[in-house]
Amino acid sequence: MGVNGKDSLIHPSIDKVVVIEGTHAASHAVKLARVQVIAAYPITPQTGVVEKLSEIVSHGDLNAKFIKVESEHSAMASCIGASISGARAFTATSSQGLALMHELLHWAAGSRLPIVMVNVNRALAPPWSIYVDHNDSLSQRDTGWLQFYAESNQEVLDTVLQAYKIAEAVSLPVMINLDAFVLSHTSEPVAIPKQELVDEFLPPWKAEFKVDPANPHAFGALVGPDAYMEMRYKLFEAMEDAREVIRNVDSEYSEKFGRSYGGLVEEYYADDAEVVLITSATAVSTARIAVDEMRSLGFPVGLAKLRTFRPFPVDEIRSLAQRVSKIGVMDRNISFGATGIIYQETKAALYNAPVRPKLFGFIAGLGGRDVTPETIKEMYSHIMNNDTPESETIWVGLKQSQKS
């Protein structure tokens, strides 16, 4: 488990180790990244991020403008304005707030601005829910944002720092997702790296293009059918390039700070496994326990942690597919009229692959429903006991009376 950093709280790069919530881990990272403009609107369970940042900025620990906007929509618009001026910008939101931002997410990516946003994954209403699932961020799939999913509070902090480096390298915005309450409101030990080392890793952003009265240009003006497609191709290419950048930045981070997250995918006992479960975020930690227990009983099970959803780790999943006979995907989301979203994407990634193992798609943990080691073991058992899935979506943990 050396890879996940939890047992590496002693490293020369560490300034101090603090016990903090996931939201505060994000705030500390923003301070370390020397963000210049923050614009945010409060929403449960993101509030810790903005409260801590308000303190940090008010105390003068971070020299930044914090615009306390009147909506998430304006939060993203202000970040876009700040970023086009050449300033490093940050916001944080959750669920409904992210949905409200939707139009501006396209605007940020289309403007090729390296904005970084923390999204606390929370189920969408109605009915009202403040608990975790991933439909909020996965609904933003096609906006041109990179998407990361964090497993621990340490990973939240580390990924925000990596995110600025990646975003500024590929000129695309990055969203870092963490599970509502399971991370956002849970305190864990987090290593805070030394500021001077972060400064070396993440020097100030020098925008290649920005609004500048000395060099006046129009940004985002009308284009005809003769140019729009090329601009979209450039964005597509940048997202493709991001794969290698993510891997390199993770390696560089590991060298400097002693913590790595495997780039786009981290495998856990997947090398000699016959059955592998793909999942993301905090369910990965739970799945690690399930795998440990099942391995101790002799079951050849493994795990693949999806760290990024955009870009989708197609190569990593194809490589996995060559080694195992069956793959399960646990989706903490549902696309109505289709299946779990990561299941769809996994399937699509494998369609043209030379080897295509059987795929099992599980839906679990919606709206904060507990995902326990037992939930995960049920998935492994189902895969091991069936040659093919009984249906395209296997709901796990659904109350029996509700099943048709």
Binding site: S74, A77, C79, W107, A218, A221
Partner: protein, 324 residues
């Protein structure tokens, strides 16, 4: 004020070759605004006629940087842009949100109110052509009572009054508000130059006739603008801190009928409706007059602080709070 001799800044920052219709009030507004603002200006333009007027990629007529932003985000994008410049040590460049009435009165209103409440340090210029003109003349909340648009056809013209954006913004107590018209370039340039010297949120409301949308000949743009002012349809005002009202020009009070008759969008109006419009204008003017009178009284009893001092007060209040 027609008699006052004045000189406009000679430099033309707005280039010819833009995409505006002939007689466009919104384009004259930009031309004069840029003369007043100078080249050290950044424009934030949401969806509006100016999205098109500035020209398609790779052309830009404005002569200063333009950031095209989403329809409802002029004020919020400008807030962030200004903050970004400040953080990079640029305290000189003037950030200007330049938006139509739809982007100001309607879809961008929430962001505008938010920025006004926060007293963000930029100038918001609304060129008001009283409908969604870029999409082909649909009613907005800036469309006046009785007007035809494609969504308020002559059989059922707009039944509601124009939203009083100035009163709403005055209620935010922003440092400077002004209304102006492309028919009076001296008034417009003086007000924008004054706005440029003030810190905090400044709002300039420009009455901007639209020949295709209002149905009149392009050569009548200025004439119609003048008539709007003379008939008290559009008062030329300054409001300091949302409370201190000053009238820039005492209009003659010509009948509104003459103004309405020049425009096809009012062609269907019956005499009774014209009388109703006249009555509303007279009533509104009385309300405005009482505000002007009470402002004057307050100024006299306070010894009349100048705008510059008041502006310093705004800035210092924030600094003092932070120190406490």
């Amino acid at each position: 004020m027609g008699q006052i001799k004045y000189q406009l800044p000679a430099e033309e920052i707005l280039a010819p070759g833009h995409f505006a219709c002939p007689g466009c009030g919104g384009t004259l507004a930009m031309r004069y605004a840029l003369k007043a603002l100078g080249r050290k200006t950044i424009l934030v333009i949401p969806a509006c006629c100016w999205t098109v007027i500035d020209g398609p990629v790779p052309f830009s007529a404005a002569g200063v940087p333009v950031f095209h932003t989403a329809f409802e985000t002029a004020a919020s994008a400008a807030s962030g842009l200004k903050a970004g410049l400040e953080m990079q040590g640029d305290h000189e460049t003037t950030v200007v949100a330049f938006a139509g009435d739809g982007g100001t009165f309607d879809i961008g209103f929430q962001a505008l109110s938010g920025a006004a409440e926060r007293n963000e340090d930029f100038i918001y210029i609304c060129y008001d052509n009283e409908a969604y003109m870029n999409t082909g003349i649909q009613r907005s909340s800036a469309t006046p009572f009785g007007a035809w648009t494609t969504t308020t056809p002559s059989e059922s013209p707009k039944a509601e009054n124009k939203k009083n954006i100035i009163e709403i913004l005055a209620a935010h107590r922003i440092p400077y508000l002004a209304t102006t018209s492309v028919a009076y370039p001296d008034d417009m340039i003086a007000k924008i130059q004054k706005a440029k010297e003030i810190r905090g949120m400044r709002f300039i409301h420009v009455f901007s006739p639209c020949p295709p949308g209002w149905k009149f000949e392009p050569e009548d743009s200025i004439k119609i603008s003048r008539m709007a002012i003379k008939s008290k349809v559009f008062p030329l005002l300054e409001i300091f801190d949302g409370v201190d009202y000053r009238l820039s020009h005492e209009p003659a009070g010509t009948p509104v009928r003459d103004y309405l008759k020049m425009q096809g969008r009012f062609r269907h109006l019956k005499e009774k409706q014209i009388e109703e419009i006249q009555k509303t204008i007279d009533e509104e003017w009385e309300r405005l007059k009482s505000k002007l009178v009470s402002s004057k009284r307050t100024r006299q009893s306070n010894g009349g602080p100048l705008a510059k001092e008041r502006n310093l007060f705004h800035v210092k209040r924030g600094e003092a709070l932070r120190k406490e």
